[in-house]
């Protein structure tokens, strides 16, 4: 990064964030959204409903769950419950990037608006790139990426609604595999702290296992249980290291 980067204007950082659209993760997300628009059509949503859903929720798992529960004829309260359980994960995701994104003067209303654009792809973007941006420009930088990504994703639904259904099964199947393998690689690559790697392994193992035991709360239990276990192991490891360091002195 150039030494004069602190002098760059907010607009220029917004544009830098926007440029994140031309990246592998953004491209992969867009192709997953093509998959979602096919699913929405198959499930009986109109184009306008699918577009509104994409922009208003902006979390693919929650969208898939809502489409599924709506299609099964569940009432609005049951739909709310199913979606809100899957979206609890948003709270720690947002909470973990806020301390890096804000300055002491960043207004809370701005963070509340920006939080809407946090979903897995933008979360990965934030944890991997915010560090390289001067602190006072991080919120606007993230806005540049997040707003552009959500708007583009919504446009993809509008354009590809109906087209994706005619894809051959091999391509449609492959599209659904792109998202998880990308998350595997990018989250591991961005994990600079051992605690994140431990939590990664815990989530991968516990997610599918708990899905067999408690299909409704699996992700929640895997996250809180696996994350807490990872944290405790890491704390014990850090304490022990500090202890041996102090002892050798």
């Amino acid at each position: 990064m150039s030494p004069d980067s602190d002098d760059r204007s907010a607009l220029s950082w917004f544009l830098t964030g926007m440029r994140g659209m031309f990246s592998l993760p953004a491209l992969i997300l867009m192709t997953s959204i093509v998959g979602f628009s096919a699913f929405a059509l198959e499930s009986g949503l109109t184009r306008a409903e699918a577009v509104f859903m994409s922009f208003a929720i902006w979390a693919l798992p929650a969208q898939v769950i809502l489409v599924g529960t709506m299609a099964s004829g569940a009432n609005i309260a049951a739909c709310f419950l199913a979606v809100t359980l899957s979206s609890i994960r948003m709270m720690p995701m947002v909470a973990s990037v806020i301390p890096e994104m804000r300055t002491k003067r960043t207004p809370t209303w701005l963070l509340l608006i920006l939080s809407h654009f946090v979903a897995i792809t933008a979360w990965v973007f934030a944890i991997t790139t915010l560090r390289k941006v001067p602190r006072e420009h991080r919120a606007v930088y993230f806005a540049g990426f997040g707003v552009t990504l959500t708007t583009s994703g919504t446009l993809v639904v509008a354009i590809f609604y109906g087209i994706a259904a005619s894809f051959p099964p091999l391509i449609a199947g492959v599209l659904f595999f792109l998202t998880p393998v990308y998350f595997n690689a990018s989250i591991w690559a961005s994990a600079s702290q051992p605690v994140v790697k431990l939590a990664f392994v815990m989530g991968v193992v516990l997610g599918p296992l708990l899905a067999l035991v408690t299909p409704e709360f699996d992700v929640l239990y895997a996250g809180i249980g696996g994350g807490t276990a990872a944290y405790l192991i890491d704390r014990w490891r850090r304490k022990k290291r500090r202890g041996t360091k102090a002892g050798s002195r």
């Binding site: 592998l24 998959g35 096919a38 699913f39 949503l45 509104f52 859903m53 208003a56 929720i57 798992p61 929650a62 529960t69 609005i76 739909c79 709310f80 809100t84 994960r89 709270m91 720690p92 995701m93 947002v94 909470a95 973990s96 806020i98 301390p99 963070l111 939080s115 946090v118 897995i120 979360w123 051959p168 099964p169 091999l170 449609a172 199947g173 492959v174 659904f176 595999f177 998202t179 998880p180 393998v181 595997n184 690689a185 690559a189 994990a191 702290q193 605690v195 994140v196 939590a199 815990m202 989530g203 991968v204 193992v205 699996d218 992700v219 996250g223 249980g225 696996g226 994350g227 807490t228």
Partner: protein, 115 residues
Amino acid sequence: MIDEYWTFIVIFVAGFLATDVWRWLGVVAGNRLNEESEALYWVRAVATSLVMAVTAKLIVFPNGMLAESPLWLRLGAAGIGFAVFLATGRKVAVGVAVPMALLIAGLWWTGFGGR
């Protein structure tokens, strides 16, 4: 008239509010966290485990067309791909390309999609 908009109301209430209430709570919680604090370690660990649980489930219990492919193929492609990714210096492009290539080869070989 309400019928016409009912689906939009469901999406707004059971989709938007059901999801963003957690994002807003995340802002409130994150505002109280110090960047160096011990609590942030825990929050990061929980967030990572949650995301990875969702991710692993997409491989083990996928939606759409992928659900019809064999589980051993998805696990093998993802597992071997991840091992290659770790062994070759953790390039994200490698971590994506290798599992995708393995999956495509496997689907081809098992005659996926009736071809």
